[in-house]
């Protein structure tokens, strides 16, 4: 692909000199214009022309996954870690349907990803052709928007719009479905500089009168709490948030996706709130007279019983998506806008609130109800996570799967920087953590990436070990192996009379060290307390090869604190 290479080597071909290119060349050139460095993909019948265009091209680099679900999770992890839009490219039919779980994951957590799927030739659409599926129809409820490109002349503009929509306003996945013959037909290529989408004009700057009102209310509050969600991470509002909290003297609790937006070693930090949140975060929200929600959406895992959530508080809600405001609870001071921009406007108007008594009260709670766990004979998962924090430091990117280990990470790993936790919060996708870590490792080669996953979730995307090995990644995967689907087992223990129906994996689990070594990765095993730190140190020294550590942890450990489902903060079990 000479023409693409020329562009690559810096010979800029600008407007005015239009070239005639094939659909697949236009696609790749458009991706280069969008500064795409990595495409997570898997070839197949109808996308052969695109992979042909990518053959021997230095950029974008194709990361060959081993299953399309892995590709979507990698693109998602890449986007979460870097803030850039992730890209995946797969074939029609089964290639496209394999993305679905991953797309839904990105949609629920508002992650910008552009998913490119091949489609059968235009004339064959609707004829039940080989590997044909209506992927636009299938993904309609789980994409922010989607396109079927029916004319090669629309392709460049479509890519431009897709990237714009995916990353602007409330981010989300956008799917582009491209028929095979569109890849092969030719058109003049000119990448548009701007987009004009009449139905998509997100409000970025909050309404100034509303912001002024919010500042007044905040100054008068006696027991305010900042309740911070993923919107603060995705809009990179961490610095503004931290300044605001300090200037006003307001304690901060974050949701699962908000972790990292506010440093957890700060005295104002309350850690995570919600079903498995800290005692003091939940109690602070319960007692607060003003809740300032920033980029969060009052999810049921946060609120529990809705009418008992923050019963004494009036609510300020800052969110870029108007539909998030007053969806679950009535908001008193809605502010629609990008969190970073709104906080920037709010900062100079902010006055110190009279919160000394409130902060004393919270300190007292922190002392009387700290996070705790008992040490036992078997290694405790909490101890492993604390050790990872100790050995790997604050800059490390952590990704998790879903379940008990995810909550242990949220509680016991102290996140200090934004975009250092990648986790599937909304959809709760098992199998996400490991491929997401691969995406993150490619996005930030200078950072250490640690995936903390369970033995159940690992086996859902275990095939991606081959991808991690082939990319020679600096990646540590900590498998917290308790031989159980731990979170389900915990619910069975607490709410289903200890009837452990189909949750025990122990007797059929493979030897994970042998398994990963068969792929060419490094495997290590930890069964005793005194092995945890030395093995982690050893793993940190390995370069250019993923290391998998099989931590055999206590199978009976439960995640506490816990607010049982549908109950209120005061029902919390410690």
């Amino acid at each position: 692909m000479q023409r693409v290479k020329e562009k690559e080597s810096g010979k800029k071909v600008r407007a005015g000199k239009k070239e005639r290119l094939s659909g697949s060349e236009i696609l790749i050139r458009s991706l280069i214009e969008e500064n795409v460095n990595h495409i997570f993909g898997y070839p197949g019948g109808v996308v052969i022309p695109v992979f042909d265009t990518l053959y021997n091209l230095p950029r974008p680099k194709v990361v060959l996954c081993r299953h399309e679900q892995g590709a979507q999770h990698m693109a998602d992890g890449y986007a979460r870690a870097s803030g850039k839009t992730g890209v995946c490219l797969v074939t029609s039919g089964p290639g496209a349907t394999n993305l679905v779980t991953g797309i839904a994951t990105s949609f629920m957590d508002s992650i910008p990803v552009v998913c490119i799927t091949g489609q059968v030739a235009r004339a064959a659409i609707g004829n039940d052709a080989f590997q044909e599926v209506d992927i636009i129809g299938i993904t309609r409820p789980i994409t922010k928007h989607s396109y079927l490109v029916r004319d090669v002349a629309d392709l460049a503009r479509t890519v431009k719009e897709a990237f714009y929509i995916a990353s602007t306003g409330r981010p989300g996945p956008v799917l582009i479905d491209i028929p095979k013959d569109v890849f092969l037909s030719e058109s003049e290529f000119e990448y548009p500089d701007t987009v004009d989408i009449p139905g998509f004009k997100p409000t970025e700057h909050g309404h100034i009168q509303q912001i002024k009102k919010a500042a007044e209310v905040m100054a008068q509050a006696k027991r305010p709490v900042l309740y911070v969600g993923g919107g603060c991470n995705s809009s990179n509002a961490s610095a503004e948030l931290t300044e605001l909290a300090h200037k006003a003297g307001i304690p901060v609790t974050t949701t699962l996706l908000g972790l990292g937006a506010f440093p957890e070693d700060d005295p104002l930090s309350l850690g995570m709130l919600g079903m498995h949140g800290t005692w003091y975060a939940n109690m602070a929200v319960n007692e607060s007279d003003l809740l300032i929600a920033v980029g969060s959406r009052f999810d049921d895992r946060v609120t529990g019983k809705l009418d008992a959530f923050a019963p004494k508080a009036s609510v300020i809600h800052i969110d870029v998506d108007p539909a998030s405001i007053s969806k679950n609870i009535k908001v008193d001071y809605p502010i629609v806008g990008n969190c970073k921009k709104v906080l920037k406007t709010l900062l100079p108007l902010t006055k110190k609130a009279d919160t000394a008594d409130w902060l004393n009260m919270i300190d007292h709670w922190k002392k009387t109800h700290p996070l705790k766990y008992k040490k036992g004979e078997r290694v405790k998962p909490q101890y492993v996570i604390e050790s990872i924090h100790k050995i790997c430091g604050g800059d490390t990117v952590i990704s998790t799967d879903v379940g008990q280990h995810q909550m242990f990470v949220a509680l016991h790993y102290k996140f200090l920087k934004p975009r250092t936790l990648l986790t599937s919060g909304g959809l709760g996708t098992m199998g996400f953590g490991f491929p997401a870590a691969i995406g993150a490792a490619l996005a930030s080669p200078d950072k250490k990436v640690v995936a903390i996953i369970g033995d159940g979730g690992f086996q859902m995307t275990v095939q991606e070990v081959a991808t991690a090995v082939s990319q020679r990644l600096n990646l540590i995967v900590a498998i917290l192996n308790n031989g159980f689907l731990g979170m389900v087992r915990q619910w069975q223990e607490l709410f289903f009379g200890k009837r452990y129906s189909h949750t025990c994996l122990e007797y059929t689990n493979p030897d994970f060290t042998k398994l990963v070594e068969a792929y060419g990765a490094k495997g290590m095993k930890v069964e005793k307390y005194d092995e945890v730190i030395p093995v982690l140190k050893k793993a940190m020294k390995v370069k250019n090869c993923p290391v998998f550590i099989d931590f055999h942890v206590d199978r009976h450990e439960n995640v506490y604190p816990m607010i049982p489902p549908g109950q209120m903060a005061t029902d919390i079990i410690e």
């Binding site: 129809g137 409820p141 922010k144 989408i197 009449p198 139905g199 108007p322 539909a323 009535k330």
Partner: protein, 172 residues
Amino acid sequence: MRHTISLLVENKFGVQARIANLFSGKGYNMDSICVGETENPELSRMTIVTQGDDMVIEQIIKQLNRLINVIKVVDLTYEEHINRELALIKLSCTASTRSSIVQITDIFQAKIVDISPKTLSIEVTGGNKKVQACISMLQPFGIKEIARTGIVALKREYTGKSPDWSSSKMPA
């Protein structure tokens, strides 16, 4: 409460499906949906009649606004607006009932658009209540089939405060 929501959408492939999908996926009620091209061939106007409490209606409007192909959403319920529906009603008819049916048709300013020895087809337009009343009046004759378009609506242009009709300046 019933709400009439007017949408301006891009006249593109799949837009109706997106809107129908939103309603079914989120469990919103949809009494009727009506769509057609506007004065600008690139745009369509859609009228949706839906039901729900204030919080649900607020969500419906916000969720519709989130769709990229939706350009404008207006809840006409609290605004002065014109709404019309067209119904085609096919009913049994004999020589003895024909004149009564024609009489009812005249009262509703409806039209007879098809006739056969045993049936009559009537076209009636009007607001929802008028169409409903017409159907009720025709019911006793034996309705065989009904096809209704659903409501289309436009905002009234004259939105100034109503003049004080009780004032003596008004002509009698």
